[in-house]
Symmetry: C2
Subunit: 575 residues, 2 copies
């Protein structure tokens, strides 16, 4: 490719809505352009990177014998009504009507569609297991699209689905995908971590996320150096042991607590340890109100609560709504005297004796509340946010935290969709049974941004070789110097014929301009044909090297070998 | 690939909504499944075919130095409002609103989007010409989706756009695309014809369509054997010469014509030649009403009229609307006495002396109407439908007709979008000028159906080798016969290692069942390992051969050579 012909409009200025480094660099480097809020066009360079990511993903899907298909983007509402997600999915689902007023959605995911597809056609246990995947656009109407390709409204995903007659078979496929995802990340060439994750709106049992590490990442990962435990903050558990104390039960008392605003205020006012206060928070979900209890110094993890209650619509109650429903201000909610409500408690309150709880009226708190005696709890479960510094749940060490960007997630969804959509196969004895299913997502367009978040410096992007738009750039320093042109063209042609993906910068602009563009675009290796050509030398420099090296042009073969070796050893993620 | 692992659910029965052969065979052969009216899923076999078509198109786009990008499917309304097509495009445009009530469309085409993309970024004449393309979904909300992938609502297109500083440069690119499209059709391996075409809603000057020939095709093509003139019926011109007669002008007379319903009735009643009657038809468009005149034995071609008036919203007036507006029944409309209306006449009326025209009141016609004397015409143009048997416009012979399916169309759109959307470049002298543009579409998913329409027989599809899902099928006749299995596996492995795309039918089903599936799926070459293996022989049969040939397995190398030669010479389109 000739740079003079390439459509890659680079920009000096930082675009005004660059809320994250990758969107700045991908825009400035001429990889993408915003078309509308959360909607992007991939320019030739960006599309090259995307296609390379797709190819790596395809290779690994083929290796585990997943078959590629393509499902529609526009999906009929009926399928989503059957699974119950037409209402549950919430306002992130983009909906439309056709000219006959039939309702459709722009698929945010394809579980319903694939279940509908195989229903009545995948009939026999003999055909199982089956693994199908597609690479396709997905749509999520984010309330505030941000971080460029990381939280966009139109994005490219690989999504795979597997069908099984036994849980064991599902476990095997899950393991295949787990390994395939690790290979994809290694082929791309980035630092990553696989973590225990929450199933969220997809449902099912086990789930893992694959996170590319980046300081700017949206996700917080809690991990243990010692035993390799790692989980998202939504899912992370703690090895913390709650100390029982041997206090005697005291008598329940309602106290005035005027003007207290926070848990700390209550602790100070009543001269109590914050760990002896039970925080009470009201949530509203599909089946009404739920009261969640947790120790005063901890926070509720809504993902865990949603998971336990199997209700993704669950959200924290609004103060006005709570006032209307329970006639109490949010600061004084408590489990004593509240009626007709499900009470779920975090394990952390089990060891609190003589607790402080809200008094269910303004400016009042109870002291010496004793559970089972003064209030009943439906279940004690883990519904709290675990933080770094806490004990690892798997060993004796303590959890650390790092940040990442989720690029892949795999789920055992079991029989959730096959049951609700009545997708059955016939087993050996002739019985109809719902499939076990797995589902496996990979964010293709998001991967491009995530790599840039991990691999950039002040001059621009550092693409790993396998997904770089070009591996090598040959720079002609002076377009007036025929010798430079001839030598550069010669090297360009040789590399091209050797199968190297190379671009020649033949633009009539200054050398500084050329270097800046090539660094910004993150091309792994640069060959400079300039003044030193008079001494029979050219310069070769890797993107992450401080300085280039001069090579004599006498032995072209050895130069080519050098280039190949440098490229093969190039690993910007390891530095 | 092993057939036992392939997800290709074949069907014996003809699906109930098979309104065209390709949708029947692609559904029965396990290539596609309908997901909703006009919306399809591509199963593994169908997706393989689509990917091969895409690859052929990509190769030819690269050869003419078009650069691949990807634009959004979801496009903001503002762009379409700027070009004026938000209203003009009509109800085929699928529209939606996001959660903030902003309007979007699912792009039926991308002229607006690409013009917006390059605007302010493609700045200098030095960067021209530029050619960009994408392969992406398009959406058209057909009132009655039909013919499967041929008139679907969600479909895959390749669309390319070029930008130029001169018309000459546009002409060159247009020519490049013309030739690239011919090469694509030749690589696919089908009979086709390139025809003069109407620009329709895209606008601009020249246009050509590339039609795959098929008796079931939607498009009618008029062509000349002698000089190779070919055009769609929307565009076709005629070499017909209208004979002048030397009749004297007579006096205009209003006659009673009670109960006449058709042009023939009028001719009979008034004892006039039908060729002396002027048919008057009212159309309504963006700027109001238009009266079109044509000779009694001819029909108005609405595409030509729309093209002449540059108004794609033009449609025939409804009788009630006409009655309300002009106080006349449709059978008695005429150019005399009608007020404040643009009158456009087909060339065919120029030679009519003393014509019969509608009287503008019920049961009345004028006789002896003379144009210029009795009514004024704004323009005489070609707005009629040309039919087979008419004279070729380019030579002395007569036009014939055949049917085809449009798979590609190229357009010189000139400055239509660059002017309306103010997309300018700077010329050598520093002046701002609107680009000249070309646009070039190719229906990827439609191509799959069109090939099947042209190439099928009573047993199923006949894929040309280059887009077949598999080139060769190896059939094991008896899954109980170890020798058959071993030999089949050996041939399968050899072919695979030689880079042949091969499937082995290792299913535990009857031979008849296997043969039927493989023929239905249209696999070019079948190798049968059956009973004759005992005599050291296997059977090789091309899909379009009546009978297979037996080959001795003694010389495996020569068998492989034979297979390769047979495949290379296989051309189902030529038979």
């Amino acid at each position: 490719m000739r740079f003079s012909k390439l459509y890659a409009p680079t920009l000096k200025e930082v675009p005004s809505d660059s809320d994250i480094k990758s969107i700045e660099l991908l825009t400035r480097g001429g990889f993408i352009r915003k078309a509308a809020s959360g909607v992007y066009t991939y320019l030739p360079l960006g599309w090259k990177v995307i296609r390379k990511i797709e190819d790596i993903v395809r290779q690994e899907m083929e290796r585990i014998e997943s078959q590629e298909i393509l499902m529609p983007i526009v999906q009929p509402a009926e399928l989503w009504q059957q699974s119950g997600r037409w209402e549950d999915y919430g306002p992130e689902m983009m909906k439309l009507e056709d000219r006959h007023n039939r309702s459709f959605t722009l698929g945010p995911t394809h579980e319903e569609m694939i279940t509908y597809l195989i229903k009545n056609e995948l009939r026999s246990y003999k055909q199982l297991p089956l693994s199908l995947y597609q690479i396709n656009n997905k749509y999520r109407d984010e309330i505030r699209p941000r971080f460029g390709l990381i939280r966009s409204r139109e994005f490219i995903m690989k999504d795979a689905y597997t069908f099984h007659d036994t849980e064991k078979s599902l476990d095997e496929a899950y393991d295949d995908f787990y390994k395939a995802y690790e290979r994809i990340l290694e082929k791309i060439g980035v630092k990553y971590v696989a973590v225990d994750a929450d199933n969220g709106a997809i449902g099912g049992s086990d789930s893992h996320e694959f996170q590319m590490l980046a300081d700017t990442g949206e996700s917080s990962i809690l991990f243990c150096d010692e035993c390799n435990y790692a989980a998202t903050d939504e899912k992370a558990e703690s090895g913390e042991i709650y100390e029982f104390n041997d206090e005697k039960d005291k008598e329940l008392e309602l106290k005035d607590t005027p003007n207290v605003k926070t848990i700390e205020d209550v602790a100070n006012f009543l001269e109590k340890d914050i760990k002896s206060i039970i925080k009470s928070i009201l949530f509203k979900g599909r089946d009404g109100w739920v009261l969640a209890l947790i120790r005063g110094d901890y926070e509720i993890n809504i993902s865990k609560l949603r998971g336990y209650l199997k209700d993704q619509t669950l959200h924290m109650g609004e103060p006005q709504e709570i006032k209307k429903e329970f006639d109490v201000e949010t600061g004084f909610i408590g489990p004593i005297g509240i009626k007709n409500i499900k009470i779920i408690a975090d394990n952390s309150i089990k060891t609190i004796k003589n607790a402080v709880v809200g008094g269910m009226e303004k400016d009042k708190h109870y002291i010496n509340a004793v559970f089972e005696r003064d209030f009943k709890v439906e279940a004690y479960v883990d519904i709290r946010i675990v933080k770094k510094g806490e004990k690892c749940p798997k060993c004796d060490k303590y959890l650390k935290e790092k940040r990442g960007i989720e690029v892949g997630q795999i789920f055992k969804i079991g029989q959730k969709y096959s049951k609700s959509m009545e997708a059955f196969y016939t087993d050996e004895s002739g019985k109809q049974k719902p499939f076990f299913m797995g589902c496996y997502g990979w964010g293709i367009s998001r991967t491009m941004s995530a790599v840039v978040e991990q691999l950039h410096d002040k001059n621009g992007i550092l693409w790993p070789k396998n997904i770089a738009p070009f591996e090598v750039a040959v720079v002609i320093v002076s377009m007036k110097d025929k010798e430079q042109i001839n030598m550069a063209e010669k090297i360009y042609t040789k590399l091209k014929n050797n199968g190297v993906e190379v671009i020649i910068d033949d633009r009539n602009v200054s050398t500084g301009f050329k270097f800046k563009d090539i660094d910004l675009m993150g091309i792994p290796l640069k060959i400079v044909v300039g003044k030193s050509l008079k001494d029979g030398k050219i310069e070769i420099k890797l993107r992450n090297e401080e300085k280039g090296e001069l090579y004599s042009i006498d032995n072209m073969e050895s130069i080519l070998e050098n280039i190949e070796e440098k490229l093969n050893n190039y690993n910007p993620a390891k530095i």
